[in-house]
Every structure is written in structure tokens, then in C-alpha cells.
């Protein structure tokens, strides 16, 4: 299990109903992008941005139910990827005997609850191996190439024209 943090939530310009949450390794450079619904994306970003809402959102309700039932949230884990769907579990403990309870959840719900109850987010190593992306030197080289194109453009400008106009 690898601990992750939420690096960003991005909106897609192609689909207003989808957002992407980007998780980043706490101790590494690998990132895991997960497509989530707009409602769940908003539920995560509203909470992280401290947006105050007049009435509890669905995930606020979920968090308050868990708290009031004395469940202690241990962590959430993105544990599988099958048929292009990520799977997650919410792991909590209940009572004096620390009974472990594991709930099946979508990653978006698990993350929206994790940020509210302040528990760590983990990803299974094999999921990160399959779906993780790493910003490598190649990617940086790409960005220099992009700059290169800009340089090419600048060098193609005939600045002597400017003088002629005056």
C-alpha cells in the first residue's frame, strides 16, 4: 500500500459531467489520475477549499453518520482496477474490540469521505504500477521542445520590418 495525497482536481473541457482527481505519491513522483463524477468532484473540492454550504452535502451526511455511530475511519484504499473501473474500500474500526469493517466504495466517495474524516488515502502497489503515470525526464524534454518551437517562431520574425514601418 502506497500513501497518496490529493494533488489536484481537474475539470474536463470535453465533458461537464466529469472531473479528474489526481493523486500523487507522498514519497515519490508517480501520479494516479481517476475520472470521477462532477458531484463527487465538487464534494471533494468544496471541502478542501473550505467552501461553506448552508446544508450538509451527501458526503457530509455520510461522514456525520460514521462519526455518530462511533466508527473510527482508519484509511481508504484504492485496491483494484477492472474493466476500466477503479475500486476502493473504506476501512474502519468499531467498538472496544476494534472490530474491522470494510466497505466497498467508488474511489470518489472514499476520497470525499477521507478528506472529511481526515484519514490517509492509499493505493495498492499493483494499481499504481498499471495506472500510475510518472513525469519523467522525457516529459521535461518535451516541454523544452515546446519552448524550442517558440524559439523557432521568434527567430523567424523579421524585426527589421518594424523599422521600415516607421
Amino acid at each position: 500500500m502506497i500513501e497518496m495525497k490529493i494533488e489536484s482536481i481537474r475539470i474536463s473541457l470535453m465533458s461537464t459531467n466529469q472531473q479528474v482527481v489526481i493523486l500523487k505519491e507522498l514519497d515519490g513522483e508517480r501520479r494516479l489520475p481517476i475520472f470521477i463524477g462532477k458531484t463527487e468532484g465538487d464534494a471533494i473540492s468544496f471541502h478542501l477549499n473550505g467552501v461553506s454550504v448552508p446544508r450538509p452535502l451527501t458526503h457530509d451526511l455520510a461522514a456525520s453518520i460514521l462519526s455518530k455511530l462511533n466508527a473510527r475511519l482508519s484509511y481508504v484504499l484504492i485496491n483494484d482496477l477492472r474493466n476500466q473501473h477503479f475500486y476502493a474500500s473504506i476501512v474502519m474500526h468499531l467498538g472496544e474490540d476494534e472490530q474491522e469493517i470494510v466497505l466497498d466504495a467508488r474511489p470518489s466517495d472514499a476520497i470525499a469521505i477521507a478528506v472529511r474524516l481526515d484519514c490517509p488515502i492509499f493505493v495498492d502497489e499493483h494499481v499504481l504500477e498499471v495506472a500510475g503515470v510518472e513525469l519523467t525526464d522525457e516529459a521535461e524534454a518535451d516541454s523544452k521542445e515546446d519552448l524550442g518551437a517558440f524559439s523557432d517562431f521568434i527567430s523567424s520574425l523579421d524585426l527589421s520590418d518594424l523599422d521600415k514601418d516607421k
Binding site: 458531484t39 450538509p56 455520510a62 453518520i65 455518530k68 455511530l69 468499531l94 467508488r106 466517495d109
Partner: protein, 161 residues
Amino acid sequence: MVEVKVDAVRVYSMSSHRVVILKDLESERFLPIWIGQPEAEAITIHLTNTRVARPLTHDLIVNAIRELGATVRYVIVNDLREETFYARLVLRTRDGKDLSIDSRPSDAIAIAVRVGCSIYVDDDIMAQHGQQPEEEAGQEEDLGAFKDFLSTLDLDDLDKK
């Protein structure tokens, strides 16, 4: 407390919001409540037995309540302040204690339809905001307006052409 059931979830073309219509079980009184689109979908997906690949948020909540040994006794729409309806979810813990949790009506209803518990509305709220369908007279009036329109048409013009 007036027991109600979900009579309909309506879509209005002019708004992204939805309306859930609660009907008094024992009379022809209806309480319409504006709710958000995702919550409306959470209610209708369950009521229409639509299969979903992964648990939706309200499915997750219901699973959590069950796994934690609690049950939902009932939900109640118990207040209306500044044009916002308030609801409570009444749970019984595994120790037999009752807990009341603040909720939006939409979330409470989405949970109630999943666990099959009763939905109530506070007496005063139903008395003040419950709506009764207009009697037959209403329909004739509507038809009346149509008749008025018909009578303004000058059908003689048709012949002239």
C-alpha cells in the same frame, strides 16, 4: 407526524433542479420539495430498479449503517426555514439507542427508499405547505380559456379564401 410516500420526481425543462412530490398516505395532500439533480437521480435510480455497476453514494451510506449494526427507523421532514426544508434521519444504534442526524430531505428520502423505512412530514409543515389538487372546476376553467381562444378566431376568414 404525517406519513408520506414518494409520489413523483419531476423534471422542469427550465431548471437543473428537480422536484420530489411527497403524498400524504391517507389523503390527497402533496408536498413538493425542490432538490438537486444528483439526489433526484439517486432516488429515481433506486425506485426504477436501475442497475448500477458500482455503489452510489447513498448505497454506500446504507451499507455503512448496516455494517455498523445500526438501522434506519424513519426519516422526517421536520422544518422549513428561509425556504429551505430540513430533515432528520432517525437511526437506532446496535446498542439500542436512537440517534437523530441532520440531513437534507433529498438525502433522507434517497436513504429511506433504499432501506424501505417510513417517511414522515411534520404536521405543521404539511398543514401549511401541503397542496391539494384543484377540483374538477379547475379543469373546466382551463378548458374555458381554450374555449375563449376558439371564440376569438374569425372562422369567416377561412371561407373568404
